[in-house]
Subunit: 360 residues, 2 copies
């Protein structure tokens, strides 16, 4: 399978069943693991990296969960293909920099992606649409045990799992959630929330990763600590904070509806009008417009079946996806026109917005 | 009749028959005249001004063209009513400052407005939708002759008609045209056109009069000179320049369609989407959106029957009009919501824009 084909498949993040918690876009857990007896990838030569890749790939592909998984090797992909996998949250931006000797295994519904020879030998990821730490952790724990039976993990009784970077030592786990917080952004309280999370040792990032603007009011919150606590304790602590953030977002939305009803309806109406009528839309603008449409679904202004369409577009209207759909050598302005056309086609199907029965 | 009622009547500028030259919104000719034996209004006491008002009103109302004319006295109108008449181009902003002893006579289709005791005793105005100097001048010339038969004009064989301000001396005529120049604004050539007009002794103003921004890409061009040339010569010279400006606007539109088709279609599409879906629209934004819709009609993207709807809205979505429709004590944000509702109602009737058969 080529990445061009993969982006047209229904995946967990774009088409997974919709969940009762609309504010959470997706859940991700990843574990860092390394093999005993091999240098970490950055200290290995190319031959060792190729050996590790073959060894891991051959074993992991046999697992039931990875039955029809596909392998994508870094030296076989174009830059655009790699960026498309980053846009789908299947590989990290760091992994996209890798060449020969690195590859990723992606299962059928794109809910599991195992990067081989990123910073560590293995970066095992489980993805879920919505707020699903419990099921994600169950699957991850099983997967990790199964891999452990087939490969010899580097482990210290005192330190836990050994990793290339000490920030991952111990559990090697990073648990994160993608949150849609347009209310907190609109009322200007998002900075306060980010500061509070930092004090609790959590990392908050905009959708494009560290340091970038939070396009589409989408934020990733993850644990920073990996040492001294069990995986379940880490997830429990994280969930406690996330529940508070979700509660704040809900409260702020009610406050906006009570105090600035016309302003928020106006924003949503305009976004809808632009999606239906623009002839050129950049990737960042698309995110911001779709973010308002997602809020419209949450409030009952748009029918709920549009949530999946919007969540797919949030991933599939990004630059590398559009480029793969059109062909690699296409010009920027044509990408923006093509994106506008895709959005228009979908939103033209809706007769009109319904501002009468607002859910809060 | 009250101003509240007048704004709901079909008028020459809002509903006059549409004309072959779409770039010109309206034509206006005004004459400044004064009565022999009375001080100019600014040098008169209140009793004299009242006498002049009665005298002029009584005579002018008898003319055939003014048969069912209405008189609106400045001391009988609220500020909002006066501003609504300014928005309809029936009185000047200066006249709106006047009090007792000043009044305006407006004929049935609002194509003639005679201000009494503005800066001069009489400011006679003839308005036409579209580019109609010839018919406007014919009507004005007749009107002026008829008034001359009934009232004693202050006239000097050497200087012509005497006026309160020397800039009006001679013919006392100001001929002006309201042009819609979105093409020249978009490509950034409007400043060059304004400078060229200034060199030719013509005044160019944005729609809100001197010094303001040109909201909606609408510009008024008028003669500055009133002395040393006949009325017909002034109009002929002005027409020559206007024909050139119109030609330039047409050329620039073709250039935009050839080189920046997506950009202009995108602007028009977005404006349409916002008009149909916004919940709050300020007066200035309405002008800018309607300006793009007017361009859409010119290009064949919107059906031509929308030209009259758009031209009416350009006048009737202005602040004082909205306020008179809603009641004087209404808040600003409610005016913007009401305006959005009016615009939405009208533009919802259109199924979609047609970008396929562009007229150039």
């Amino acid at each position: 399978m080529k990445v061009q084909d993969l982006i047209h498949e229904k995946s967990e993040l774009t088409h997974g069943k919709s969940l009762p918690e609309p504010i959470v876009l997706s859940t991700r857990i990843r574990l860092a693991r390394n093999l005993e007896g091999y240098n970490f990838p950055d200290w290995s030569n190319i031959e060792t990296r190729k050996e590790v890749l073959r060894l891991c790939s051959n074993e992991i592909i046999k697992l039931k969960a990875m039955k029809v998984a596909e392998e994508f090797d870094c030296d076989q992909m174009t830059e655009t293909e790699k960026r498309a996998l980053v846009e789908r949250h299947l590989i990290s931006p760091e992994f996209a920099q890798m060449g020969e000797g690195s590859g990723v295994l992606i299962n059928e519904d794109q809910s599991i992606a195992v990067m081989i020879n990123e910073e560590d030998h293995l970066r095992i990821q489980v993805l879920r649409r919505g707020y699903q730490f419990k099921s994600a952790w169950q699957e991850m724990d099983e997967l990790d045990n199964q891999i452990d039976e087939r490969l010899d993990y580097a482990f210290s009784g005192q330190l836990g799992y050994l990793t290339a970077c000490p920030t991952n030592l111990g559990t090697g786990m990073r648990a994160s959630i993608m949150l849609h917080l347009p209310g907190l952004v609109i009322v200007g309280q998002i900075e306060k929330v980010i500061r509070a999370c930092s004090h609790l040792n959590l990392a908050v990032r905009g959708i494009y990763g560290e340091g970038s603007d939070a396009i589409g009011s989408i934020f990733q919150i993850s644990n920073q600590q990996t040492l001294g606590e069990s995986e379940v304790e880490i997830i429990k602590k994280l969930t406690g904070v996330l529940d508070t953030v979700i509660e704040q977002e809900k409260n702020v939305r009610n406050q906006i509806l009570a105090q600035e009803r016309v302003k928020i309806f106006d924003k949503i109406g305009r976004a809808f009008g632009i999606l239906r009528n623009a002839h050129s839309v950049t990737s960042d603008e698309a995110m911001n417009l779709l973010s308002l449409m997602r809020l419209a679904v949450d409030l009952g202004i748009l029918p709920s079946q549009y949530r999946t369409i919007i969540d797919s577009f949030l991933i599939e209207s990004q630059p590398a996806h559009i480029q793969l759909m059109m062909g690699e050598d296409i010009k920027l302005e044509h990408r923006d026109s093509f994106r506008a056309m895709l959005l228009k086609q979908k939103f033209k199907e809706i007769d009109s917005l319904n501002f009468d029965n607002i859910k809060t």
